[in-house]
């Protein structure tokens, strides 16, 4: 008898198993193949815009993705470093051999975790409660809670040209029956699709024709606890190339041979809008002369290079022609062909904010099974499912992150409130409070929660507290420190072509000016604080106006989040609500007025009517 069973060993499953075992719960992780633990079947990145911030949030809460990435990556970069602090985000090129290896090592070191190779095909359900799982061979394993993190493995079909093969990524065995069983238990199942490009033999690429894209020249880490584990000069570069007119012609001439363009007539899956195949790009953007492609190393240990931007479901012989039409790839050898994959997922409005399903108690789901895409999206859901499953065992309230607290909160709220049309990817533009949800302040936003639930230890929390105290101290100090305008000071200003202040000003006032940085002021007097502390103070001073506005907006949201909607509400009893809104409200069953507002199809007038009804029928809720 286990407390928690996690089904699936991908990025969601690893975080879920790690969190629940670390919190002391007897956990079983079931994977179809132990060698595929924390596998990266598609692109080799960890992080990226918005996603990099999620990795920081995972680390702040006590998850593991950031630390493993820090220890194993081939290259790391701060994206948008020339833009404002709110949109800066880390991205690393993971090592597809090292990352899974390190993850497995970490998981194996956990006392309460067992890992088992098997295929799960059904759940043990009793009276709308899950009590364990049933394996392919009929074996039953009991547990108090089950977390499904099955990724793309539910009824997975690999699509290449006119062939459809029932298998998961890497030709792995898919789960054939679990999604049908879920349907029987009352879940609405949808079919989604995604794709991956070719892997090319590094030795056969002519890199002289490609543009080099190196890692950053500055040490960076995802984790708030780790020192950099790499050497700047040992980072591996990525490269850039472009499609040609010839490539486009090949695609247009052979369009009908692509699975997605007629070679297969039974495609149901909806592909991600933000990840179109190269066929889609050429067809939809006819006027574009060329499309950008990134050539990325997958590992130090083998020669596969990932061809980002070239995802396709063309037959193999056409893929050969396509690849050879690219500059630098004339003689390239394809090691793995691109393919599309179709799989089943649960429509995510069937989940509570804790990621427990509404349909079956004690069943949690996380990752691609919930309709998302991406390793980071999966990992953060896995972590939250692991945390909330544990909290449930401990009879505690679930940890629900709000939209103004974390990208994780944005993601889960979007999923369960709005549902999805295509696989969901986090984007900066999805976060209305992105200025508050920065990469640099993830620890200040979330560590306290990690500490409360027991995934962050005393040392980690006292480090944070020290940092926060120092930030306050430095702010005070800067209000006192003044810069007298002497000849030598003037000279420095001129040297940097910065306008000289007309009178003596405090450092505090000076730093408000966009062109004056902490670094610059250290020309006059050193500021003996850590870079992290100085960074926080500088961001606060430079963007105070914007930040205050964002807090004000967030305040409005918090107020609305406090207006709870009782769980027993009967929407059929509310007169005057528009019929589309009524149907959506019944489907999503929002827990607060704030959430109700975000449901598409629910208009402001419906909200007013709902509020009036609540006031009348449930006086204590207002």
């Amino acid at each position: 008898m286990y407390e928690i069973i996690v089904v699936g060993g991908g990025h969601a499953g690893c975080e879920a198993a790690y969190a629940s075992a670390k919190k002391g719960h007897k956990t079983l992780l079931i994977t179809s193949n132990i060698n595929n633990i924390a596998d990266m079947p598609c692109n080799p990145h960890i992080g990226g815009s918005a996603k990099g911030i999620v990795v920081r949030e995972i680390d702040a809460l006590g998850g593991i993705m950031g630390k493993i990435a820090d220890k194993t990556h081939l290259q790391i970069k701060m994206l948008n470093s020339a833009k404002g602090p709110a949109v800066q985000s880390l991205r690393a090129q993971g090592d597809k051999v090292e990352y899974p290896k390190e993850m497995l090592k970490q998981l194996k070191s956990l006392q309460n975790l067992e890992i088992k190779e098997a295929m799960v095909e059904d759940l043990l359900v009793n009276n709308k409660k899950v009590e364990g799982i049933i394996l392919e061979n009929g074996e039953k394993i009991k547990s108090q809670i089950v977390i499904l993190t099955t990724g793309t493995y539910l009824k997975a079909d690999i699509l290449v040209g006119n062939t459809r093969t029932r298998q998961g990524p890497h030709g792995e065995k898919p789960s054939n029956h679990l999604s049908d069983k879920l349907k029987e238990y009352g879940f609405k199942i949808i079919r989604l699709k995604t794709g991956t490009p070719q892997r090319i033999d590094r030795k056969t690429i002519d890199f002289t024709k490609l543009k080099e894209e190196p890692g950053d020249n500055k040490y960076l880490t995802f984790s708030f606890d780790l020192k950099p584990q790499y050497k700047i000069e040992e980072q591996l570069p990525c490269h850039l190339t472009y499609t040609t007119q010839e490539t486009h012609q090949i695609i247009i001439d052979n369009l009908k041979k692509s699975s997605m363009y007629g070679a297969l007539d039974d495609i149901e899956g909806i592909g991600p809008r933000y990840c179109p195949s190269i066929e889609d790009k050429v067809v939809r953007f006819k006027d574009k002369e060329r499309h950008q492609l990134f050539v990325e190393p997958e590992s130090r240990y083998y020669d596969d290079m990932y061809l980002q931007g070239f995802s396709t479901s063309m037959p193999r012989e056409i893929q050969e022609k396509m690849v050879h039409s690219l500059p630098g790839f004339e003689k390239a050898k394809i090691l793995k062909y691109g393919y599309a994959i179709e799989y089943d997922a649960i429509y995510p409005t069937q989940l509570n904010k804790s990621l427990e399903t509404k349909e079956l108690e004690n069943l949690f789901t996380a990752g691609q099974i919930n309709g998302t895409s991406g390793y980071e999206e999966a990992a953060c859901q896995g972590l939250m499912a692991g945390i909330n499953a544990s909290l449930k065992l401990e009879n505690k309230e679930p940890l629900i992150l709000k939209r103004n607290e974390a990208y994780i909160g944005v993601l889960i709220d979007d999923l369960i409130t709005k549902g999805i049309r295509d696989p969901y990817r986090l984007l900066t533009s999805r976060a209305e409070f992105r200025l508050l949800l920065r990469s640099d302040n993830a620890d200040q936003r979330l560590r306290k929660y990690g500490y409360e639930i027991g995934l962050i230890n005393e040392d980690q929390i006292s480090n944070l507290k020290r940092k926060e105290t120092e930030i306050k101290e430095l702010l005070k100090e800067l209000e006192i420190r003044k810069l007298k305008i002497t000849d030598s000071v003037e000279k420095k200003f001129n040297e940097y072509s910065i306008q000289i202040p007309t009178s003596t000003m405090t450092y505090y006032q000076l730093l408000k000016r966009p062109e004056i940085t902490m670094d610059f002021l250290e020309n006059f007097e050193s500021i003996p604080y850590s870079d992290e502390v100085k960074e926080q103070v500088e961001i606060y001073l430079k963007y105070e106006g914007y930040i205050k506005k964002a807090y004000k907006e967030a305040g409005k949201l918090i107020k609305l989040e406090k207006k709870q909607i009782p769980t027993d509400i009967d929407y059929d009893k509310i007169k005057n609500i528009a019929s589309e809104a009524r149907q959506k409200l019944k489907e999503v069953r929002p827990t607060t007025i704030a959430q109700a507002i975000r449901i598409s199809g629910v208009n402001p007038s419906d909200i007013s009517i709902l509020s009036v009804y609540l006031k009348k029928e449930y006086p204590k809720y207002e």
Binding site: C42, N43, S49, A50, L79, N80, A82, K83, G84, A86, V87, T196, P197, E213, P272, R273, Y274, C275, P276, K281, R284, F285, K288, R290, H291, Q292, F294, Q308, G309, S311, K418, L427, T428, S429, R430, E432, L435, P514, E515, Y543, Y546, K549, A550, K575, N576, I577, A578, S579, E580, S600, N603, P604, S605, D606
Partner: protein, 453 residues
């Protein structure tokens, strides 16, 4: 929303016919119970049917009944309209019968509310229908009609379309920082676009304020020392236009003393009694009151006595008036001139000399007001614009946010910071016609830019 509602839809009182409107699932069934003629349950949709309304076999009225079945009706529900023979008594009787048979009396605006809730009209259109019902002049009616047709929504949507292109471009730059085939939006590229946006909003705002004038009139106050001739002027103006002096429900506010119509535009004269009642001198309290009244005025008529020197208090009032549209009225020009207007340093076209007692200068004053508010033009222009206070105040907020945007650009803020204010404007504009969806933005991003793995 399941109950069936009814109301007398024409204005209560005199008229050749009156219309009783019924809307809801049961409307045809209920009317059929009191109707003698064809079986209304069996007639085609959108037909007019002759017959009688009867009670216990007794004919109440000879009527025409229009049957309009859902969904192609104003409320998107079944609607029945009973055309009765005017007169309060028979119409009320019909209404009573309907209530007896299970209808509920509609609340004010409830038909419109249903149209809105059922998705027949958007928020702006719903507001327009209410305006239409309240409209008093042809221009008002025309303006309301344009809103119902969605012209104003189009205008706002066009503005938002322009903005969403800017926003999505910046967002793509943020989310796909390494894509070199997407134009990089910079503050420099942004400046002219924002300038254009500002001009457009200002244009709409200006036209909307005209719209507000057409709809609500010009709030006008006469300010001045006691005995300077304020009430005489008011009475003179009112006397000329007795027709609308009294009892204009709906548009009048408590403090409005009367209304004057100039070329079809209404001047709402704000009561200045509060000042009138104070003692000889304009005391501090008088100045304070004047200030308050001025604040809520669209037009300030500041009256001075030709026969008196200008006091310090009066100068203070003049300074305050300058923040508004104002005219300086020099009254009592039949008396000896003791006033020194030159010391005020005021443009001569703001000054009107008059003698209210002798009816001198009144026409000139009216002409000046017509000129100031472009009243003649208001009548001919295509009144497509927003006319309600809510929309106008949102537009004003948008203008304030544009100033934030400009300031951000000037201060060399990163474009993603500037974008926060732009998005704010876009969202606010959306609340004017009730459409703000995040999805809109995402769709724009993915349909316009070529992105992905």
């Amino acid at each position: 929303m399941n109950d069936t509602i009814c109301a007398i839809s024409t204005s209560n009182g005199i008229g050749a016919i009156s219309i009783v409107r019924v809307s809801g699932e049961e409307s045809i069934n209920i009317v059929n119970q009191i109707f003698k003629g064809k079986d209304l349950n069996k007639v085609e949709s959108h037909t007019i049917n002759y017959g009688h309304i009867v009670e216990n076999g007794k004919t109440i009225d000879e009527v025409l009944v229009s049957i309009m079945k859902a969904p192609k009706t104003f409320t998107m529900e079944d609607i029945v309209e009973i055309n009765t023979h005017g007169g309060i008594a028979p119409t009320n009787k019909v209404l009573e019968l309907l209530l007896e048979k299970g209808c509920r009396l509609a609340e004010p605006g409830e038909f419109t509310k249903r149209a809105f809730l059922n998705g027949r009209i958007d928020l702006l259109e719903a507001e327009a229908v209410m305006d239409m019902i309240d409209s008093k002049t042809d221009t008002q009616r025309q303006m309301a009609m344009n809103q119902i047709n969605g012209k104003t929504s189009d205008l706002i949507n066009q503005l938002r379309d322009d903005m969403v292109q800017i926003i999505s471009n910046i967002n793509v730059n943020i989310d796909y920082p390494e894509y070199d085939d997407v134009e990089i939006m910079t503050n420099e590229i942004l400046i002219p676009k924002i300038e254009k946006l500002k001009i457009k909003i200002e244009e709409i705002l200006k036209e909307s304020q005209n719209g507000k004038i057409i709809k609500e009139g010009i709030n006008t106050s006469i300010i001045g020392k006691p005995n300077v001739g304020k009430s005489s002027l008011l009475n003179t103006l009112l006397e000329e236009d007795k027709a609308i002096v009294t009892d204009i429900a709906g548009t009048t506010r408590d403090i409005v003393e009367g209304q004057i119509k100039i070329n079809g535009i209404v001047l709402n004269m704000i009561d200045t009694a509060g000042i009138r009642e104070t003692t000889d001198k304009i005391e501090a309290i008088g100045v304070e009151k004047s200030k308050k009244i001025m604040e809520s005025s669209d037009l300030v008529l500041l009256m001075l006595n030709n026969n008196e020197k200008i006091s310090r208090d009066t100068k203070e009032l003049i300074e305050m008036a300058k923040r508004k549209k104002y005219l300086l009225l020099i009254n009592k020009i039949d008396l000896e001139k003791r006033i020194n207007i030159e010391e005020l340093n005021i443009e001569s076209d703001k000054i009107i000399e008059l003698s209210v007692i002798n009816n001198k200068g009144i026409e000139e004053l009216k002409n000046k007001i017509i000129e100031m508010f472009n009243i003649n033009e208001l009548e001919v222009k295509d009144p497509t614009y927003l006319s309600n206070t809510r929309s106008i105040s949102i537009l004003k907020k948008c203008l304030e946010s544009i100033i934030d945007v400009e300031q951000g650009i000037r201060n060399n803020m990163p474009i993603d910071m500037v974008e926060l204010d732009i998005k704010n404007i876009w969202e606010q504009l959306g609340t004017i016609n009730g459409t703000t969806y995040e999805e809109e933005l995402l769709d724009e991003m993915f349909s316009r830019f070529c992105l992905g793995k």
